[in-house]
Amino acid sequence: MKKIEAIVRKSKFEEVRKALHEADIDFLSWWEVKGQGTARQGLIFRGIAYDINSVARMYVSFVVRDINAEKSINAILESAFTGESGDGRVFVSDIDQSIRIRTKDRGDESLYDKNAK
């Protein structure tokens, strides 16, 4: 099992969500984050243009079976891309165990709906 985490532009978030859905990833979490990097967010206050040292991004996180990892990574890479500095990152890590609380299923079985497919 792999955990896929991605930091993407807020403006690209809906496309990422849609692309993941098309790649059969229907369980995911996300939250708004602030961070710093090479991208700058320009603002204006009473005639003065300035930038804040933080940019707003979406942080997306989900766990998939190994067979779905590459497919979901590609979905993010394509849907979150603009080519400009600040497009974000995808991180992949191993997951030791996953347990569905309702059924006590462990491992791969906890990550998809057996009855649906």
Binding site: L43, I44, F45, R46, G47, I48, A49, Y50, I52
Partner: protein, 461 residues
């Protein structure tokens, strides 16, 4: 005609403060009898009274919640409650000070050398003022007046908002206790005397002929220069290295606040004629048009200079326009109002975006940049654009009375000097006794939690 309310400003700057020795001065009332034969006895007009009760309530709305939200939205989220509390407590404290002796000091009379500088205590706790008494002050309606107690309350709202305007300069870095004592002392030794100079019939500024219809000098220049002095003496906020600007934490609040200021200002300016008549309607008209012109002008400046029209910008422009039209509202027509409004945003924009940065003082919310600069422009503009079409006795330089401009400048300088010096002295007194600058801990944790043990936006649902 010189006995009317708010008109004249004359020469010497007195530092006199409070005189206990007073005699009741009839001079305030109807001493001036122009070339009319018998003036009919003044009486309380129900129509004028109805309007002035509403106007008074509108002016209250300017401080809470108008100014409170305008300033509150501009600060960081850890300081909004502190700003709201400052506005709220000033409404309470200054109102009590006003009936205790503030009104008497500002609008009452005293005798001897102090008479031109400050009123006495004859009207302390409104002693002797009956509900049937007519206001001794009037503008255009000498006969059909309002109750004296209503005039007291109308002016109370002005006394409340003036120290509240200064909050913008020291926001986010002042101890609450120091702020409160400073503001109360400031109301007593700065606001009340200056109101007396300009608006009392005995006031020394009342005789030279400076025009200030609704408080450009007494309220805005006065608060504006006090704001600048406070910003300089308190020092800059402790911000991360290289940061000079803190983004407003809630721009919708700024918009609601500015809109309530705009709305309340109709009471402030159109109420300053103390009657429901054509002069009030004109004040209403020029106030609205100047605010509209200034809002548009700021938005266009933003658009040209920084490529985007900003919401904080248009809201700030509207307030600047309202400030600038305040002294002129009873003297200019709509063409004057448009010019006053269009230009005030240019001056204020330049002040807050260029000059402030060069001089390096930290006027957190631009109280000086908007109220000080806007007020000075308004006072000058009144001397330029006043037209006899509105009030036949008063003309500005563009209508054949160049002397008026010089008189306006004297009034501006006198207010800047007196208010600036006294503010500095009061700051030192409070700093040495109670302490006034917030500690680093207080400033970084935020004034909401450290001064009030409250949090505006709780995590709990």
């Amino acid at each position: 005609m010189e006995n009317k309310y708010f008109k004249y400003i004359s020469l010497p700057v007195g530092l006199a403060l409070i005189s206990p020795a007073t005699t009741f001065a009839q001079a305030v009332t109807t001493a001036v009898a122009p070339a009319v034969a018998a003036t009919p006895a003044p009486f309380i007009s129900p129509g004028n009274t109805a309007w002035m009760i509403v106007a008074t309530a509108l002016v209250m709305l300017m401080t809470i919640p108008g100014l409170a939200l305008f300033y509150g939205g501009l600060v960081r989220s850890k300081n909004i409650l502190n700003v709201l509390m400052q506005c709220f407590i000033l409404t309470a404290v200054i109102s009590l000070e006003w009936v205790a002796f503030g009104y008497s000091n500002a609008f009452g009379s005293s005798t001897g050398a102090l008479a031109p500088y400050v009123g006495g205590f004859d009207w302390a706790f409104l002693k002797g003022i009956k509900i049937t008494d007519v206001s001794p002050y009037y503008i255009s309606q000498a006969t059909e007046r309002i109750p004296h107690i209503l005039f007291v309350l109308f002016q109370c709202m002005f006394a409340v908002i003036t120290p509240a305007l200064i909050i913008g300069a020291f926001a986010e870095r002042i101890k609450f206790r120091g702020f409160l004592i400073f503001s109360l002392l400031w109301a007593i030794v700065v606001y009340n005397p200056i109101a007396h100079w300009v608006w009392s019939a005995d006031g020394w500024l009342c005789k030279l002929g400076a025009l200030d219809f609704a408080g450009g000098t007494v309220v805005h220049i006065n608060a504006g220069i006090a704001a600048l002095v406070m910003a300089v003496m308190l020092g800059k906020r402790r911000l991360p290295a290289g940061q000079h600007i803190t983004p407003p934490h809630n721009i919708p609040f700024v918009v609601i606040g500015a809109a309530l200021l705009w709305f309340g200002w109709f009471g402030f300016n159109a109420g300053s004629g103390l009657a429901a008549d054509g002069l009030a309607a004109n004040a209403f008209l020029v106030t609205h048009i100047a605010a509209a012109a200034a809002a548009l002008s700021w938005a266009l400046l933003d658009w040209f200079i920084n490529k985007k029209p900003t919401v904080v910008g248009i809201a700030t422009g509207a307030v600047a326009g309202l400030v600038a039209i305040t002294p002129a509202a009873g003297f200019v027509d709509v063409s004057g109002a448009i010019i006053i409004g269009l230009l005030v945003s240019v001056f204020c924009f330049f002040m807050v975006s260029v000059v402030k940065g060069k001089l390096g003082y930290d006027d957190s919310l631009d109280a000086f940049g908007v109220h000080g600069i806007g007020g000075i422009w308004g006072a000058i503009a009144t001397g330029l654009f006043a037209t006899p079409v509105i009030q036949s006795a008063y003309s500005g330089a563009f209508n054949g009375n160049p002397k008026q401009l010089g008189i306006q400048l004297i009034a501006i300088v006198a207010t800047l000097v007196y208010s600036g010096v006294l503010t500095a002295i009061l700051f030192k007194i409070v700093e040495k006794t109670l302490g006034i600058r917030a500690t680093e801990e207080e400033e970084i944790s935020g004034l909401d939690i450290t001064q009030h043990d409250e949090i505006a936006y709780s995590e709990a649902d």
